[in-house]
Amino acid sequence: MEGECFTLLPRVCAVLAAGSSLPDDTSLEKLLDWFSELTTAGVSLVKDCPCLLEFTSTVVNSATSDPCILSFTLKLVGLLASSEDGFIVLQESSVLDLVFNPGHWEKAGHWEDPCVRIGWIQGLRSLLQHTKALCFFVQAGKQCKWRPHESEEHLQHGLIEPLLQLQTDTSLFVASAASQILAHILIFYQPSPSLTHNSMEKNEAADKSTNPSTTDDGRCPFKAETDQSFTTVVMLISEHLKNSLVSGGDAKLHHAQQSLRLLVLLLTRLRPPLRDSLLHAVTDALEELLMTDLTPPLMDVILAAHSSSSSDVRIHRLVSSLLSTKKPTDLLHAAAAFLRRGLHDDVHTAQCARAILLPLHIVTGQLFLDMDPADEDLCSMAAQLQNKSSCISIICTCLTNSPLITVLDPSFLPCSLDVIISSILLMLRLCSGDTLSVSSGCSGAVRNVIGSSKVKKCALEALMSVSSSPGAKAEVIKVFTLLLKYLDDPDSDPTVFHKSYQVLVRWISVCRDPSSIPDQLKQDLLGVVRKRVCDVRWEVRDSTVEFLGRLAAVKVHHTTDTEAQSACEVLPGGSSSITPVLEEALLDPESYVRASAISALAQTQAPGWQQGAALTQERSEFVVRLLDVLSEDTEGFPRRAVVQYFISWFSSSASRSSLLRRSVRSVLSRGSADLDWEVKVHTLELAKLLLDEALSAHSSSTKELGAQCVHPYAVIPQPVYTPHTHTENGEEDTAALLETLVEEGVVSVLLSGLVDCDRPVALKACRLLIVLREALCPPSHTDLGTDRETVAKVSFLLPKSGWALEIIKILKTKNKAEEENAATLRSSNCIDELKLGEGYNKGWDGVSGAGCERMSVCELLSNLGLDERVKILNQSSDHVQNSPLSLLQDILSAGGAHTQPNTQLMQEVIVDCY
């Protein structure tokens, strides 16, 4: 296809250069993407597509080009010059000097257009991949006087000056791109840490010969040639950053913000000598800026500086002034950012912990921080908390970050951990309107948090996070009581219910010993669960059912030497009290709830499966009910959950009961005929388990699947394709295995999946069929004697209806293509039979039923062209539309339509637009 594209390219270039209209806005970007892909793949565009050079010089020299085409050309030139060869060619043709000369575009009146400026920047960004480019970048100004109105002095340093100016461009995109490229230059060309100056010089020649552009980590391996240029660039950028950070008016502020963002980029990625010198250059300016106003980028810069060189006294001082800001919200955010970065030092960590806990201290009135009531920070924070909108956001920030404190070394903590936990609990009580426990809290703030779902959720999240902290176990009863209250509160938002259940599950797992929970609480929990499963809101019912499932899945240990016990024991009656509730939920009008109920039931029954417990009458009836759901439920979610249930049962059961075998067969036939593609994918997953079992291969992906908790209506993740090898044990009864797979319906599920119109289904089926073929059907050229014969005799009854017709069609097409080579193809007789519809081949020992064809499984598998099919299926469904060829053809058609506006094509394009 590539060759065809290259043939079209000259015409496309002509169309573009003529300024014809394009099929859509993204065409040029797609074209560039294709060129980038080619470059990355090692194609030399300059050599293979000379028309591009022609195109660039035409556009660059034309005065009337469209800005979009200009921008594209700028980017293209950068791309062409990203390799040294291309660079040399372009420089020799003097296109490079002209293209990257802003003066040229200014004169032509194009520089005003932001898309030209961004094209210039991005072109430059592509270009700057090798030493020559850097030299060009620095030298360019000296060679051509592109800004006649500027003094010579300004022209000394090549393109760096205009680039620095663009960093404060009116267009945010241009400004951001300029910052990005500045960062790129410093990071890409910075000296390697492992190599000394001399050794780098020595290695230079060798490097050049192999890959002259970059090393694996994307940085430039050169030094000597670039040394001078790089030093100049570093000096100029440092100077620029320093100047732009000096406070001034509004315009200056905008400039400073841009520079701060650039600094963050640099500080996180530059290595020591360069980073230190840069830091040294800007520290004074940062200090000054900190005195005026604290902005998030400034905070990021200081913290980035601190994480890179925490021992520097001046940086230490900067962090200290950052953490002594007088604005309560800024202080809170700074403290949170400090701790979130995992920065710790003796002074600041404790300070941050206090700052984060301060709102909790004020609102709850717990007064756990040793603070003077007249303290300035305390008073200003209390004032902020009186305001409803700021109060909620402050408390949420405080709660979200409080778990960071619980993992700190106790020496940094201003109070004990249990105090923090009880403050969070108190906050939750306040949110639900229980103010009796507050003695000296800030009443205005308390008023603001009452009933706030946002605060409730944050506090619950915090409570969940602190469950693993050392003091947590002692608080279990309190947490339980509170969560029960939350679950009983009719005014709680469904999301709060959901969160409360999650927290409860977490704390139950912390508790380890369910018997330590008072019976009354257990009884209350059961009452609440029974009530919530009848809730008017389906979200609440769903969360409740899901909770019961999770509870069943959580294992708790009394002590290390006792056997794990299900957390269901926290409910009176254990899992037996849950099952009726969940079975009731199977009748829920909301499909999500039904699906969750099925999934939860699977989790409650899993221990029985693992222990190989005998099947009861109720369990058998329940399986029948599930199969009914699979065939009758109108929604996809419960049906998916049913297949998932059988997957769990099959993968975790210790023994294969006849009920399980029977029902799996039933699930396979019903699931593969489902209308929902995800049900089909799940069914194929079940088929895969059977396949794996039959092949006695312990697929890692299957095990993972059985172990992980898959959401009842989530799509199963794509398993890794691992072809099975033909094992010795397998050879002995390969035929019998294949026979079993045919009997169990696995083969027909896979075949029906193969011709499914949904790509994920077909792909999965195709992969599994390949696995089957590789494992059980030996290639025809190997001589395995009688075994091979036996395997080949295993036949399959292919019905002449539905999906099977599609299979027959494939076989026919394949046969037609290979007709001439029929002698070498053993199955040609079979294909002929099918074509003629006369029955079966004499070499086959099967018989055909009414309207069915019996054929050898191995032959079938080898004739379906599975390998080609998997390749096609692996491509995305729109790969044809998105191919470069299609793109080029579109551009040509649009260009053609443009020149002949009355053609049918033009009308089509217009129609397409609507």
Binding site: G433, T435, L436, V438, S443, V446, R447, I450, D489, P490, D491, S492, R530, K531, R532, C534, D535, V536, R537, E584, L587, D588, P589, E590
Partner: protein, 658 residues
């Protein structure tokens, strides 16, 4: 302007407003919480209740065995239940001109006021209020009359004896004013005095004020009232709701610019969100039915029950309750369900449009059609043969002291499978259950009160911005049980004026203006002269004629030509014959020119002293003072009349005459 507060109950108001020359009663609600002190009236003989021990004081001196019975440690009066009436002694109720009713819950004391106080005025209410109010009164009367009690307990009310009784009887107030229920005849007579009004209809009261009901969004036909004169506006807000339930939404904008806003009937359950409670109601109901138990819902026969049924209509299928029967038992059940469907114009927009489909506005019609909901006048008759369990029963009275609910309490109280769900917020559920203790059935309290909560009312008041707010004392402080909840009270600037039972408030606003009409011919005769741009004045000589609180200026009849006879018989009746009125002066005396003029007239020794209001000129030689002030000029001149006249004339030169 005065407000007489005859009830202290914030949601059962009864106030009297004296405004201009009118006396207006705002609602006359009946406080029925007094019935909680009485024993329930069982429809079927209850051995349990009849065996309760009587009360004798510990020292044996007082024996009230027949009047007071003891149950689970509490005393109950064994008598026909009595209600606490609005205060009758605070003012003469016969002077009341009109009674404005805001909703059917706030009119239950009407017969006590209209029939026994000499009331001769008119009662104003909307049609649904009248019709549903009649149903509720009829139900109440039937509940009482169905179980007649011969005796009427009065001994316990004796102050000396009451003091000896244990609480809460001991703390009951105004027990002597408690009255037995009225009769149907009294109800009919009282309701015959009702005049129907529609929303925004303006009714003139004696020409003095205009009253107008506004939709309040709480119940069918519920209203707030605007009472206004030409220059003053009083709003009466009672039982309003901003939630989207069945009634027409609340009209808030018409409440703007009130001088006084009287605020009553906020939610009794500020911490219970109606939506949450409705959800809780449904969950508990489903949970009980699934476990094989029955659900009893003590409720009024109109109001929230419509919303409950609508909610259940949607919930029944989702909770798999399709086969569970729902019974609604009340003497007025049928009328209530049917009435609700015909008051289309009083319903919310959504329900109104259904009428044109045509579809019944409320889905309970469909529940009845599909036999899921059945209604009966009482437990006797058809009900007993149709009755199937497990089931859900809606029946009254929410106090659990009378009505069919008493029977179900006796029937189901012993099993813990059954549940009683309280939805009406008017009675404390623990007090209501007290005479049924010990009780095995589960009790769930889901009070559904859709009236405004404090958050909503603060927002409303911020928008309508009344100058003064008057409200029950209870709204100015947090509820006693939640004393830290400062969000559960009204915080306004200026602070609201609180009232209690028997308070008489002088409303803090003074009437400054009165509208006077002028007849065209008189107006025609006026000759205005412009004082300053935009301000013209004219002298009017006229007769002020006042009738029906309307004031009119009429021309003075011309003096009749002198009668030929010299005899004047009826001098007194002669219209006053005034000469031409003296001209009115306006303007100010400018100091400098005035001094110059004085000098011209030979007054030279003038000492000018500046004061806060103007100047004092001391004519030293003449020993005379001239006080020139913004609104007056005084010449103090002893015994020198010519000088005074001269100065006066000089002053007059500078002034304009009208």
């Amino acid at each position: 302007m005065k407000l007489y507060c005859l009830s202290g109950h914030p949601t059962l108001p009864c106030n009297v407003l004296k405004f201009k020359s009118t006396t207006i009663m705002l609602d006359c609600a009946l406080d029925t919480t007094s019935v909680l002190n009485y024993l329930p009236l069982p429809l079927v003989h209850s051995p349990r209740l009849s065996k309760l021990p009587g009360w004798i004081s510990k020292d044996g001196t007082i024996n009230l065995e027949k009047e007071l019975k003891e149950c689970a440690g509490r005393l109950f009066v064994d008598s026909q239940p009595e209600f606490c009436l609005p205060e009758k002694e605070l003012l003469d109720l016969s002077t009341i001109d009109v009674i404005l009713i805001s909703n059917y819950h706030c009119m239950m004391a009407l017969p006590y006021i209209t029939e026994h106080t000499g009331f001769t005025g008119t009662v104003y209410a909307t049609e649904p209020t009248l019709q549903i109010g009649r149903l509720l009164m009829e139900e109440l009367v039937k509940f009482m009359e169905r179980v007649p009690k011969a005796q009427s307990a009065t001994c316990w009310k004796n102050k000396e004896i009451q003091r000896m009784l244990p609480g809460p009887l001991k703390d009951a107030v105004e027990v002597w004013t408690w009255k037995r229920c009225y009769s149907m005849q009294e109800v009919n007579s009282a309701l015959s005095k009702v005049q129907l009004v529609g929303y925004s209809q303006k009714v003139e009261l004696f020409g003095a004020v205009q009253i107008s009901p506004l939709s309040s969004g709480y119940s069918l036909g519920s209203s707030n009232w605007i009472i206004q004169s030409h220059h003053e506006k009083v709003s009466y807000v009672s039982g309003s709701s901003l939630l989207t339930t069945h009634p027409q939404p609340m009209d808030q904008s018409s409440l703007k610019n009130s001088d006084v806003l009287i605020l009553t009937g906020l939610t009794q359950m500020p911490t219970a969100n109606p939506d949450g409670m409705l959800g809780e109601f449904c969950s508990n109901l489903a949970m009980t039915i699934r476990a094989g138990g029955n659900v009893l819902v003590p409720c009024y026969s109109s109001g929230v029950i419509y919303d409950l049924l609508e909610c259940l209509y949607q919930f029944i299928d989702s909770a798999n309750l399709g086969t569970t029967p729902f019974y609604f038992i009340s003497p007025v059940a049928n009328s209530s369900l049917e009435f609700s469907q015909i008051f289309a114009e009083w319903l919310c927009h959504n329900k109104q449009t259904k009428v044109y489909l045509p579809e019944p506005p409320f889905p309970h019609a469909e529940l009845i059609q599909t036999n899921k909901l059945k209604h009966y006048p009482s437990i006797h008759g058809d009900f007993s043969s149709d009755f199937k369990q497990p089931c859900v029963v809606f029946t009254g009275h929410p106090s659990l002291r009378f009505g069919d609910v008493v029977h179900f309490m006796e029937l189901w109280g012993k099993s813990n499978l059954n549940t009683i769900i309280f939805t009406e917020p008017d009675f404390s559920y623990l007090d209501a259950l007290a005479p049924y203790q010990p009780l095995a059935m589960k009790c769930v309290y889901c009070p559904i009160d859709t009236r405004l909560n404090f958050h909503q009312v603060s927002k409303l008041l911020k928008e309508v911005q009344p100058l003064h707010v008057v409200c029950p004392d209870q709204y100015t402080q947090p509820p006693p049980s939640q004393s830290h909840r400062s969000d559960l009270m009204l915080e306004l600037q200026p602070p609201p004026m609180p009232y209690r039972r028997c308070s008489v408030l002088n409303l803090p606003f003074r009437r400054c203006y009165e509208r006077v009409y002028i007849l065209p011919e008189l107006a025609n005769s006026l000759v205005p002269s412009e004082l300053k741009p935009g301000v013209s004045v004219a002298n009017v000589s006229a007769i002020l004629h006042s009738k029906d609180n309307k004031h009119t200026l009429q021309s003075v009849p011309k003096a009749a030509p002198a009668p030929p006879s010299k005899k004047r018989k009826r001098v007194v009746e002669e219209p006053p014959v005034g000469g031409a009125p003296k001209p009115l002066l306006s303007g100010a005396v400018p100091l400098e020119p005035f001094l110059a003029t004085l000098q011209k007239h030979g007054i030279t020794e003038v000492k000018v002293e500046e004061t806060t209001d103007g100047h004092i000129l001391h004519l030293q030689a003449e020993d005379t003072l001239i006080q020139l002030e913004e609104d007056g000029t005084h010449i103090v001149c002893d015994n020198n009349e010519p000088l005074r006249t001269t100065i006066r004339d000089l002053v007059l030169r500078f002034l304009q005459k009208l």
